[in-house]
Amino acid sequence: MNNRALGKLPKGWGGLTYDWSSDQRVFKGMPWNKAMMWIFLLSDTFIFCSVLISYMTVRVSTAALWPDPSVVFGLEVFGTSVPLLLIAIMTFVLISSSGTMAIAVKYGYEKNRKLCAIFLLLTAVCGATFVGMQAFEWTKLIVHEGVSPWGNPFGAEQFGAFFFMITGFHGTHVTIGVIFLLLMARKTWRGDFDTGRKGFFTNVTSNYRAIEIMGLYWHFVDLVWVLIFAFFYLW
């Protein structure tokens, strides 16, 4: 469905009933892989919500003292302890990667091969930096401060279990995202979307819409970090 045909369809709530009752595909003007990415992200949201809500339930219901995140995640800089410094830097790095991803998607729409690939690569670099800092944080907690999933020196034992599960699951998402960003950057730079070169595993040619779908995933990872930052680190 092209832009003009799509422009003629009813919009808003009328459009909602029109799309769902049309006896045709529901998501008009949207390629299937993009619709499926949205559905996947919705299911992923359920997983993250389950984890975060169970964390809240455990943290609120425990009678033991919960470790103070701004002390646990504090960083010593030139002799003074700055609360959450590393986490703040990680947040800014991930938000920057979201910004570069949005710009990569924009250049993808415009079929601007080089700039799109460069911004995809920048996004991957930011993502890798984030994972690196997370590895540093985990090392600090596990090796130097003795935090484990079953105990820690600061207070309630459940702290470690939830910390490692939540940040670990998010870090896995970032890592997978970085791998795919690098693959997409290579494909884009090589001009696969312009020449119609087929993918490694598939017989189907791809196009620049793949960048947009990649972007949805990456922004979702950033979105989840916003929630984790608020509920785990700031609480």
Partner: protein, 107 residues
Amino acid sequence: MPQYKTQTHKIGIYLWIWALLFVFSFFSYMVDYLNFEGLLRWTLILVFMVSKAALIVTVFMHLFWERYAIVNVLLWPMTLMVLLLGIMAADSIYTLSTRLIYFVAGS
């Protein structure tokens, strides 16, 4: 090959949102740095969190420009998640009260 809808926007809107996300993140970090406590802390944290999430979803993920067919697919399950959050919050407060009564006060 069918033609799909594409939206191009000026780069300015992405840079603006990027800057706003930086500002909101800085503010939410300041909430912790300046040691705000109690209701004020929670209000600020949630306001900044929801603003950031809304900016990412509407502009970066282009949901603002999508048809309601997909917007509603995402909106209502999320509403249910918020409902679950509320239920579990109430439940965990109740659990805490029983633990305080029987484990801490009773021991």
